[in-house]
Amino acid sequence: MGRLHQSLLATAAALMVSTSMAQAAKLTFYCSAQEDWCQSMARGFEEATGIDVNMTRKSSGETFAQIKAEEANPKGDVWWGGTGDPHLQAAEEGLTEPYVSNMRGELNDWAISQATSADDKTIGIYSGALGYGFNSDLLASNNLPEPKCWKDLLKPAYKGHVQMANPNSSGTAYTTLATMVQLFGEDGGFDFMKALHKNINQYTKSGSAPIKAAGRGENTIGIVFMHDAVKQAVSGFPIKVVAPCEGTGYEIGSMSIIKGARNLDEAKKFYDWALTADAQSRALDVKAYQVPSNKGAKTSPSAPDLSSIKLIDYDFKKYGSSAERKRLLKKWDDEVSTLPQ
C-alpha cells in the first residue's frame, strides 16, 4: 500500500503543478471523433503551436447537449468532429461563432457549402458516405445472396436480417431517412422505409451499433456510414462494405468555434490548423476512413473512394434545419414505426 500511497501523492502533486503552470496559452477542445483521433489532434496542435490543449471527448450529441447546458457560461473553445447536424443545430441556436478561415481555398466544395448553409458558423472537416455492411459468414450460412442496392434490402429473404438505428435517437439513421426522401422523393422514400421496416430486426439506439452487432455475429446487415463498416473489416471482423447502386447520401463532419470562447485567438489558430493538409492526414495514423476536406490531405487505400460512389446532391440546409427534421421524424414515427413487422 505504501507504493500506492506514494504514487497517489505523486499524481496529486503532478496535478497541482500542471494546473499552476497552465497560465500559458491554452485551449479547451471538445472532440467528437474517436478517442485516438482526438488525442492525435490535441497532441499535434500542441506540437505545432506550443499551446496547451485540454481535450474532452464525447459523442457529438453529448457535446451538443453540454455546449447547450453551458450556454450561460461557456467552458469550451472549439468543437471539432462529429456529424454535421448537431453543428448545424448549434449554429441555428446561436451557440457557435461565425469565422471565415484563410484556409478555405484548399477545401473541397462540400466543406464550404456546409459553412455557407450555417452563416459561417461551422465548416466541413471530413465526410463519409452512407451505405451498409454485411457479415459474410452469416450471409453464407443463411444462404442469402449478396445485396448490392438499397432496394435489395426490401426482399423478403432478408426478413429479420437488417438492422438500422432509430432516427429519433441517431444522427446516422436520420441521415438515412433524409437520403431516402431525397433519393426516391418524399412518398417513395417513405414507401421504402415502410417496406424496410418489415425486414428490420431491431432499431438500435446508437448509429454505429448495427455494424458492430454484425461484426460480433449478432446481426447480418447493418445500415451505417461506410467508414464505420470499413473500420470493422479492418479490425478483423468478417464484414463486407457495400456502396448502394442507386446512389447515396453522406454526412459532413464539422468544426465550430463556441460562442463566448475564453480563448478565442487560440480557437481560431486551432481552426486554421485543423483545416491544413498535414493536420487532416493524421486521420491515417489512427485508422479513420473518412474523406478529408482538404484537397491535399492523404487518404487511405482502404477508405471508400467518394469519386467512385454515386453521391446524391444532399441538401444540408433543408434537411439539417430543426423544423424539417421534426416533421420527418414525426412522419416516420406515425407512419412507419407503428406498422406491424
Binding site: T19, G61, F64, K75, N168, S169, G171, N201
Partner: protein
C-alpha cells in the same frame, strides 16, 4: 460539542467556534473560488488580500466595489451579544435565529441575483439601474461564512426548545436539509422545469401534456402484436426486478447466516462481484453466451435442431442482466437485517412448540419486513434508472432511461421531452415509495433491545433450505461462468473472432517503466485510473457519513416535513444519471455555485447519487434497534452525539460497510451521470472504457474492467477489515462455543 452542564456566561463553545469560522470566512479567506485548490496556497502570492481574484469579502466591500457584501458584517457581529446570554434566555435564541436566518438568506439572495453578467434578472436591472460589477462562483470564504450562519440558525432553533433543545440533532437536520436542497432539489427541479418550456422559451402547461400523452410513452400495442410504450415497459420490468432480486437476495442472506453451508465465504464474495463490475461488461458477456451467435444459443439450437434466434434482445436479456447486477444490493441490505433478527424471539416461538417452518413463517419473516421492503424499493429504483443494460440488450424494448438519454443527446435535441419522461419515472418511484410505506405500516420491527439478547439463530427448515440451496447454486454457477468469460476476454486478441492468447491489452493500458527517477507510468489508462481511485476514495466515506446521519435523523427524530425530506433523499437515486448529469451542468456551471470541470462536481454527484443506499441500509438496521438503548445512554448523561457515536454506530457496522462498499464501487463504475461531468483533467475510468468500446477496442476495455474488478475486490476486503464485524449481543461468541 462539549457537555454544557455548567451554564455560565461565555459557555457556548460551539457557538464561539462557528463565529470564528464565519469571521475567518469573511475577513481572511478568498471569498470567490480561486483557480487552483485552496490548499496549494498559491493564492497567497497572487496579490492577496486586495486583488479581486483572491480578496476576502471584507476587502471587496472595503474598496466600495461589492457593497452588497457589506450587510453580512452586521449579521456576523450580532451573535456576539448572544454569547453573553444564558442558553435559557429567550433573547439568546432570538438573536441567533435572526442573525443566522438573515445572514444565510442574504448570502443566497445576493448569490442568485448577481452573476457573471451583472444582474441575473431583468426586473432587478430596471429597479436598481444597471450594474457595472459582476461576481463569480462562491469560494472557500463564502462557504465557511454560509455554514457559520446556518449553524447559528440551528443553534437558535435548538435554543427555542426544538427537538428537546438538542444542538447536535437540530444542527444535523439543518445541515442535511441544506445540502440536499442545494445538490438534489435545486438542480433537479431546475432541470424538470424545462418540461414546461415551449420552443419560444415561455412556460406553458399544454406543452407538458402534449409530450406526456405521447403514444411512445403509454401505447399498449404489445397486446396486439406491436410495441408497448416505454412507461409500461419500465414499470413492468422494474416490478419484476424488484421482486426477483429481493427473493434472490433473501435466499443468499439465509444461506450465509442460517445454514451449515460450507462455502459461505465464496458465496459472499460472488454476490459482491456483479456490484463491482463496470456496467456494459455483463451485457457483453450475456451477448456472447445467449446472443444469436452466443455459445449457449448455438448449442441449444444445434441440439434441438432449430434455428437460432435473437431471443435475448429485449425484455429477457435486460431482466437477466439486471437481476445479475442488482441482487447483490438486495443481499447487502438483507444480510444486516437477517443477522439482526433477535434469536430470543425465535427461541420463544420454538419453546411454544412451533416447528422450524412455523417459526420462520410467523416470526422470522415478518420481522424482516423492513429489509424486504427496502430491498424491493432499491431493486425497483435501480431497474428504473439503469441505462447500460437496456442500451446493450434492450433490442426494441424501449425503457424510460434510454429514451431520456436519447431525447437529450439524440437526433431530436428535446430536453423538454427528457424532463417529461423523467417526471413519469419519478412518479413511478414515488408510487413505489408510498407502497413500501403502506406495506410496512406503523408496526414495530424492533428486536435489538439490549436486554437478554442471547441465543443462536435456528437453522432454516429443510423444506426451505433445499430450494434456497438450488437457487443459490444455479446463480453461483451462472455468475462464475460470466466472470470466467470476462477474464478470458481480456487475454484474447479479439474477443469472439481471433482467440489467440495475449497480454497486449494489459501492456497497452497499464505498462510502466522503472527509471532512475522512479516509476514511469507509460500505460494509456493510468491517468483515468488514478483520478477514478482518488475520487472514489474521497467520495465513499463522505457518502456513508451523510447517508447514515440522514438515516439516524429519519428513524430517531421527529420533525416537521420528515416524509418529504425522506423522499427528497431518494430523489437523486431515482433519476437516471443522464438527467443528473445535465441538471448538474445547468445548475453548477454558473454562480453562485460554479464547480463544473473540477473534481468537486464528480465527488458531489457521487455523494448525492449514492447516499440513498446508505440511508436505506441505515434505516433498515436502525429500525431494529430499540429506542431504549438511546434512552439509557441519554439517561446516563451522554448527549445525542455521544449516543450516536458510542451506541448506535457500533451496532450499525453492517450498514456502514454496505454504504462504504456501495459508494466506493459506484463511484468507480458509474457512467451515465459521469459522461457529462468529466473534463480533460478529471477523466474517469468508465468514460475511457466507453470510448474504447466505441472504437472496437473490446480487449483493452475488458482488460481495464478486469483490473478495476480486482482493485475493487481488494478495496472491499480492506474496508471489511477496517470496519470489522459487529458482535450483536453475545451471540457470536456463544455460537462459536455451541457449534
Amino acid at each position: 460539542m462539549v457537555k454544557t452542564s455548567h451554564q455560565q456566561a461565555f459557555a457556548h463553545p460551539t457557538l464561539l467556534l462557528w463565529l470564528i469560522v464565519g469571521w475567518a470566512g469573511f475577513f481572511l479567506l478568498p471569498w470567490y473560488g480561486v483557480e487552483d485548490s485552496i490548499f496549494t496556497f498559491t493564492w497567497m502570492t497572487e496579490g492577496y488580500p486586495t486583488d479581486d481574484d483572491v480578496a476576502p469579502a471584507f476587502f471587496h466591500a472595503l474598496g466600495g466595489r461589492k457593497i452588497w457584501l457589506l450587510p453580512l458584517v452586521a449579521f456576523l457581529i450580532g451573535p456576539l451579544f448572544a454569547l453573553r446570554r444564558d442558553k435559557s434566555d429567550p433573547l439568546h435564541a432570538k438573536i441567533l435565529i435572526i442573525c443566522g436566518a438573515l445572514g444565510f438568506g442574504w448570502l443566497i439572495a445576493q448569490g442568485f441575483s448577481i452573476g457573471i453578467r451583472g444582474w441575473n434578472f431583468q426586473w432587478m436591472a430596471s429597479l436598481f439601474g444597471p450594474l457595472e460589477d459582476r461576481q463569480f462562483g462562491m469560494g472557500t470564504g463564502a462557504m465557511l461564512t454560509a455554514s457559520a450562519f446556518l449553524f447559528m440558525l440551528t443553534q437558535g432553533i435548538a435554543g427555542r426548545g426544538a427537538v428537546n433543545g438538542d444542538i447536535f440533532v437540530v444542527g444535523a437536520i439543518g445541515f442535511v436539509v441544506t445540502i440536499v436542497a442545494a445538490f438534489v432539489f435545486y438542480p433537479i427541479l431546475n432541470m424538470l422545469a424545462s418540461a414546461f418550456v415551449t420552443q419560444e422559451k415561455t412556460y406553458s402547461v399544454t406543452v407538458f401534456f402534449e409530450k406526456f400523452t405521447d403514444r411512445r410513452l403509454w401505447g399498449l400495442g404489445c397486446f396486439e402484436g406491436g410495441r408497448c410504450g416505454a412507461a409500461w415497459n419500465s414499470l413492468i420490468l422494474a416490478i419484476l426486478v424488484g421482486f426477483l432480486t429481493t427473493a434472490l437476495g433473501l435466499a443468499f442472506a439465509l444461506v450465509v447466516t442460517r445454514t451449515g453451508f460450507r462455502f459461505k465465504k465464496v458465496l459472499r464474495a460472488l454476490t459482491v462481484l456483479p456490484i463491482i463490475t463496470p456496467p456494459f461488461v455483463i451485457g457483453l458477456a450475456i451477448i456472447l453466451l445467449f446472443g444469436l451467435s452466443g455459445n449457449v444459443t448455438r448449442f441449444v439450437a444445434d441440439f434441438l435442431d432449430i434455428s437460432a434466434t435473437r431471443w435475448v434482445y429485449g425484455m429477457p436479456g435486460v431482466l437477466i442482466a439486471q437481476i445479475l447486477a442488482f441482487t447483490p444490493i438486495a443481499f447487502l441490505v438483507l444480510i444486516g437485517v437477517v443477522e439482526g433478527v433477535s434469536p430470543s424471539m425465535e427461541e420463544a416461538a420454538q419453546t411454544l412448540r412451533a416447528d422450524k417452518w412455523q417459526t420462520f413463517k410467523t416470526v422470522t419473516l415478518p420481522l424482516m419486513r423492513p429489509g424486504l421492503a427496502n430491498a424491493f424499493l432499491l431493486g425497483f429504483i435501480e431497474s428504473m434508472a439503469d441505462f447500460g443494460n437496456p442500451l446493450v440488450l434492450g433490442g426494441n424494448f424501449d425503457v424510460l432511461s434510454t429514451e431520456i438519454f436519447f431525447a437529450i443527446v439524440g437526433a431530436q435535441y428535446d430536453q423538454g421531452r427528457a424532463a417529461v419522461l423523467a417526471i413519469v419515472l419519478l412518479g413511478f418511484t414515488l408510487a413505489a415509495f408510498w407502497a413500501q410505506r403502506f406495506w410496512l405500516g406503523k408496526k414495530s420491527y424492533t428486536t435489538m433491545t439490549g436486554k437478554g439478547d442471547s441465543g443462536v439463530h435456528p437453522l432454516l427448515p429443510n423444506s426451505l433450505a433445499w430450494p434456497v440451496f438450488v437457487v443459490a447454486g444455479i446463480w453461483t454457477l451462472f455468475t462464475i461462468t460470466i466472470y470466467v468469460m470476462i477474464v478470458y476476454g481480456s487475454f484474447v486478441e479479439l474477443w469472439g473472432v481471433r482467440n489467440t492468447l495475449t497480454f497486449k491489452h494489459y501492456v497497452t493500458a497499464f505498462s510502466m517503466k522503472l527509471t532512475d527517477g522512479g516509476i514511469h507510468w507509460t500505460g494509456s489508462a493510468w491517468d483515468s485510473f488514478w483520478t477514478t481511485l482518488q475520487i472514489a476514495a474521497i467520495a465513499a466515506p463522505l457518502t456513508a457519513a451523510v447517508g447514515l446521519v440522514t438515516a439516524y435523523l429519519l428513524t430517531r427524530q421527529n420533525f416537521a416535513g420528515k416524509n418529504a425530506f425522506e423522499f427528497g433523499t431518494m430523489l437523486s437515486f431515482a433519476i437516471p444519471g443522464t438527467v443528473i448529469g445535465v441538471s448538474y451542468i445547468l445548475a453548477f456551471n454558473v454562480p453562485p455555485i460554479e464547480i463544473t470541470g473540477t473534481g468537486i462536481i464528480l465527488v458531489v454527484s457521487f455523494i448525492f447519487r449514492n447516499m440513498p443506499v446508505g440511508v436505506r441500509a441505515g434505516i433498515a438496521s436502525m429500525s431494529q434497534l430499540d429506542k431504549s438503548l438511546d434512552e439509557s445512554s441519554l439517561t446516563l448523561g451522554a448527549n445525542s452525539w455521544q449516543t450516536f457515536l458510542n451506541v448506535i454506530l457500533p451496532l450499525l457496522k453492517p450498514a456502514i460497510l454496505a454504504a462504504l462498499v456501495y459508494s466506493f464501487v459506484r463511484a468507480m463504475t458509474a457512467i451515465s451521470a459521469v459522461i457529462f461531468l468529466v473534463s480533460a483533467e478529471y477523466n474517469m475510468a468508465t468514460s475511457y472504457i466507453i470510448g474504447r468500446v466505441e472504437n472496437n477496442d473490446y480487449g483493452l476495455a475488458i482488460a481495464y474492467c478486469t483490473t478495476l474488478i480486482v482493485v475493487m475486490l481488494l478495496a472491499v476486503a480492506l474496508l471489511q477489515l477496517l470496519v470489522g464485524r459487529t458482535n450483536i449481543g453475545r451471540r457470536l461468541n456463544q455460537s462459536r462455543t455451541n457449534v
